[in-house]
Amino acid sequence: MKRDTRLAWINGLLLPLLNVLTAFAATAVLFLLIGVNPLEAAETLLYGAFGYSEGIGYTFYYTTNFIFTGLAVAVAFHAGLFNIGGEGQAYIGGLGAGLAVFMLFPELSPWLMIPASVLGAMLFGGAWASVPGYLQAYRGSHIVITTIMFNFLAATLMVYLLVKVLREPGQMTPQTVLFPDNAWLPFVHDILPAFGLEMERSPLNLSILLAVFMCFLVWFFLWHTRLGYAIRVTGLNPHAAVYGGINQKKIIVVAMCISGALAGLVGINELIGYHHRIIMNFHLGYGFGGIAVALMGRNHPFGIVIAALLFGTLYQGGAELAFEWSNISRDIVVVMQGLVILFCGALEYMYKPTLIRWLAPVQEVRS
């Protein structure tokens, strides 16, 4: 095998795999310390995530969210931008989805209603991300700082809207009225019987198809369009971008818009697909999780699907663990997820030098 190919395998597969295994090993030690047999715990986790149809539904429901935010982070990353604002963009995306529904006639056909809500989510998420993008491109404010600040702004704005403006009359909970049911994206458990399959009720809805479709779209966009090409040049070599006649400032804003639009789709899975009303904090954790997902998935849509599935599994399997084991609290589950993020994100390249030395050593240059 050529060294190049070997490096690609190391980077793309071996490294993430080793990182995940390390995280699991660390979790196993943690479990032993609190008196839990790690193998039995792993069994519970896997059973919870894949052992019965409701669990599978939850796993893929979480996965859907992580695909959206993972793609969002990846698109920004290809333009050399670190979008930490997935949380806020997802939240505002949900607002856009909901507003689209409320502003249309309630009796409108779902074939128009749902696409309109998807558009609303993408528009709002994209617009929300475009402001930090603009500030980065034209005012030099660092995108990491501004996107984080925009997360807080989004939270504050949503609380204001849900408490003061959109709240269902007579209800204390800050949430809107239920969407008319032609704005509900069908649940998978309602669809499957038509194909002769049975499934327990779960939040899993057709958004997952949208997520898969978006993976293909993002892949096509990045590698098969002019704009995608320009985004990748900008991210990899800004000097070459200038030389190549690419307007970097425009690219930064556009990439952020696309990134935010993808993150906004979390609002579709959560609100149009499951809660069927705008509620508070449906987005928590997915924006940040998306960063780890994108890192693990090497910013490639297909890698992101795998990484998102891992995180979906950890979420649902973790919930099962906390539910079934009285000595595993939900905090232990968070620690477990944190370990995966630590080893796959922060310590991403820990094994890289060793692996390269072993498996793909540099040939000595002789003259």
Binding site: D4, H224, R232, V233, L236, V242, G245, I246, S367
Partner: protein, 520 residues
């Protein structure tokens, strides 16, 4: 004789690049020694080895007669070596005093160390005439004073040998004068100074001895009073054995590119281009000669639309660009200009891209390669395969990562991309830098073929031989100014060398900076 520094047979490679080729150097204690050479000649590598940043592959280092093997800069500092970098390593919002003790705080609590440092710094300031307010924050100081802080820092750490890397690049003429006075004071106190620069006038003004480096090798050691600027320039540029290029006389056609009164000042307020005027006709190669760093890069960037025009105008095929009507690279390409950048890694390609992707950089919006917003990767691969065949790029694998081609093949791919697009005006920077001998001849033929096809070619190169053999006309840049334009037939290395050093100019060339000096 008593030597402060003795380097023997220092050799260093970075992959395929031979950065230092068995270098020898001896510097007498208490003298000022200059090292000149073009960018990339290996000066900085040599000094980094001396300062412990890099380790030599072979060779020995002796400081005041003792042999050392530095593994980091702390050991070099302990041996009495101090370095003032081109880019200052100061913490802007610390005071001078805090900056000086950085890395030599002397214990966990600062107060004691600061007090002791203040005392000894006062003494140093007096001894060497280095006057700086110790309690001023660094960002409130002028560039010249910041440099003094760097010098103080080195002396405070006990430096007996001071290395200065391009110290005058950012200084005003007055500040330069002040710096040279400090050199004299340091020398009088027995400090040995190594001055790295490519400004020959400064070498002549302050050094006792001078060494010339070229392509990693030490090519001359000279006593400063016994040499001249033009001799140094010759040594720096050197003669390179080139293949004979058969050049037929072609009648030059219409003016395709016309540059008028171009001035350009960098962000530090230093004028980099001054009153540049020239025309290039169809079927003509205009060679731009000069020691690198004299405005060639800036000229290419302004002409190609990468940096905005500040003053003056560029006319290409009847269309005029000026500060009001700015160009940009995309617009210039549609006007029929192509640009082979000087630094291919930095600008000309994306190392992580596959060859097929690098091969469409700048042309990704071409209708041939895309269908509206959709790219057609298959056509890109096809285009790349064609380019590879036309320019004999090896290996001819369109999927190979750009970084994995050799320098020569990368350059051929970029040349192919720009030339095969059939431009009317071609800007070429350093076409054969880091390219193996076999590819050089090929590249030269391709450049001449462009000329023969009636294109206007601007060729920027630091290789005099290349300029002489390819150009129809030659223009020499020195310090941002055109110091001479002539027919290639009438030019020889000696006259060009004189012009490159601006040797016939009586007054100090630094004076001309003073006239255009602005506050950045």
């Amino acid at each position: 004789m008593n030597f402060a520094i003795e380097l023997q047979d220092i050799d260093k490679r970075f992959g395929a690049v031979h950065a230092n080729d068995h270098v020898n150097l001896q510097v007498e204690t208490g003298s000022i020694h200059g090292i000149v050479g073009e960018n990339g000649a290996g000066k900085s590598t040599l000094m980094s080895i001396l300062y412990g940043f890099y380790q030599a592959d072979s060779g020995s280092i002796k400081i005041f007669g003792n042999e050392y093997q530095f593994t980091d800069s702390h050991e070099a500092i302990a041996a009495g070596i101090g370095m003032v970098h081109q880019h200052f390593m100061l913490v802007d919002n610390f005071t001078v005093l805090e900056n000086v003790i950085l890395g030599a705080e002397g214990g966990q609590l600062l107060a004691e160390g600061l007090q002791a440092a203040r005392q000894s710094l006062k003494e140093l300031e007096e001894k060497y005439g280095l006057d700086v307010d110790l309690d001023a924050t660094v960002d409130s100081l002028s560039v010249g004073l910041q440099q003094r802080v760097e010098i103080l820092k080195a002396l405070y750490k006990g430096a007996k040998i001071l290395i200065l890397d391009e110290p005058t690049g950012v200084l005003t003429p007055q500040e330069t004068d002040e710096l040279f006075k400090i050199f004299a004071a340091l020398k009088a106190q027995g400090v040995t100074i190594i001055l790295i620069t490519h400004k020959l006038r400064e070498i002549m003004a302050v050094t006792d001895t001078v060494s010339v480096m070229r392509r990693g090798a030490m090519v001359a050691h000279l006593e400063t009073p016994m040499t001249s600027e033009s001799q140094l320039a010759e040594h720096m540029v050197g003669r390179k054995v080139l293949f004979n290029v058969n050049k037929e006389q072609v009648e030059a056609g219409d003016v395709l590119l016309s540059v008028k009164h171009l001035n350009w000042t960098d962000s530090q307020g230093v004028p980099r281009l001054k009153r540049i005027n020239f025309d290039i006709r169809a079927g003509e190669v205009l060679g731009v000669a000069g020691v690198s760093g004299n405005g060639q890069s800036e000229l290419l960037e302004v002409l190609s639309g990468i940096t905005p025009i500040q003053e003056g105008s560029i006319q290409i095929k009847g269309q005029t660009f000026s500060p009001k009507e700015q160009a940009n690279p995309a617009k210039m390409r549609t006007m029929g200009m192509a640009h082979v950048p000087e630094d291919r890694h930095k600008q000309g390609m994306v190392m992580e891209f596959r060859a097929a992707e690098t091969a469409i950089l700048g042309y990704h919006t071409d209708d041939e390669l895309s269908n509206g917003p959709w790219l057609k990767p298959a056509l890109g691969r096809e285009r790349c395969a064609d380019l590879m065949q036309a320019f004999d790029v090896r290996p001819d694998d369109v999927e190979l990562k750009s970084a994995n081609f050799s320098g020569g093949n990368q350059q051929k791919l970029i040349l192919a991309r720009e030339m095969e697009h059939n431009p009317d005006v071609l800007l070429i920077g350093q076409p054969t830098r880091g390219v193996d001998v076999g590819a050089i001849e090929f590249i030269h033929q391709k450049i001449l073929a462009m000329r023969d096809a009636g294109k206007a070619v601007l060729l920027v190169s630091v290789e005099l031989e290349e300029i002489l053999s390819l150009s129809d006309r030659i223009m020499v840049l020195c310090d941002g100014e055109i110091t001479g334009q002539m027919d290639a037939a009438k030019a020889d290395e000696r006259t060009l060398g004189m012009l490159m050093a601006n040797a016939q100019q009586a007054h100090d060339p630094l004076q001309s900076i003073a006239s255009g000096e602005g506050q950045s």
